[in-house]
Symmetry: C2
Subunit: 118 residues, 2 copies
DNA sequence: TATACTAGTATACTTGAGGATACCAACTTT
DNA sequence: AAAGTTGGTATCCTCAAGTATACTAGTATA
């Protein structure tokens, strides 16, 4: 059995997938938007804006477009009067649920720790 | 059994822990630094800088300080000549492993999907 | 003596993410 | 006809995150 050393090069290889993920979910809003869509299953622009507290129309619109490009979210126009727009997580977007859950759980524990101290 | 409706207010409650977590891990580098520290168990400043590709001394120093403040990373000065500095994940920092794993796994699957397309 | 290494600090600078505000089209309601 | 609703755009602006570059103390090594 050969001896293995940990190297920056090997480390970078392990780090790459994490970097890729961070690239896609970067920014203040994308994770929050996905979380909200997972909560509601489907959602109008207005309801999203109310639920992702603090976000402006401009940012919400921009972030939704980027999430669409990456096929994490889909936008459906329904021919009613007036037109209804429905945002929804795609099946692929569903694959990020583990990330959301991990973030959620950590946040819950973190809050317990912080409160326990004060 | 009472009927339950999903509301922006209830949604915000569910979203709060996620927001808390995002606040702490925000930025381009913190998750990467933690990932690298988990890879090596312990690590010098130099090795960290080589492994977190692209980071500058200033950013690495700054981010490490913030991670220390949040008790996710510890810095040990060892009285050798020259002085050795050892960075390490704290036990509390270890609790973020699930997040790192989720990000890693998603990145791996994402890469498969992207490559499969080209 | 001169060069090199570790672990950073100091300073100046850039840039783009995000915020604030106003506005718009298409439609409905009163 | 006027006001309200949804689902956004269009501009302008700010600030902090991040970059670039140089430099330092203390030690070791050639």
């Amino acid at each position: 059995m050969e001896k293995r050393y940990k190297t920056p090069k090997e480390c970078l290889g392990k780090l790459m997938p994490v970097r890729d993920t961070l690239d896609i979910f970067q920014g203040k809003w994308k994770i929050q938007i996905i979380s909200v869509l997972m909560y509601y299953d489907e959602c109008s622009f207005k309801l999203l804006k109310e639920s992702v507290k603090g976000i402006t129309s401009k940012m919400l619109s921009k972030e939704l477009k980027e999430l669409e490009v990456n096929q994490l979210v889909e936008r459906e126009v329904i021919d009613t009067r007036p037109v209804t727009i429905r945002y929804r997580i795609t099946p692929y977007g569903e694959s990020s649920r583990d990330i959301i859950i991990a973030l959620y759980n950590w946040g819950v524990e973190h809050r317990k720790k912080i409160i326990g101290k004060e």
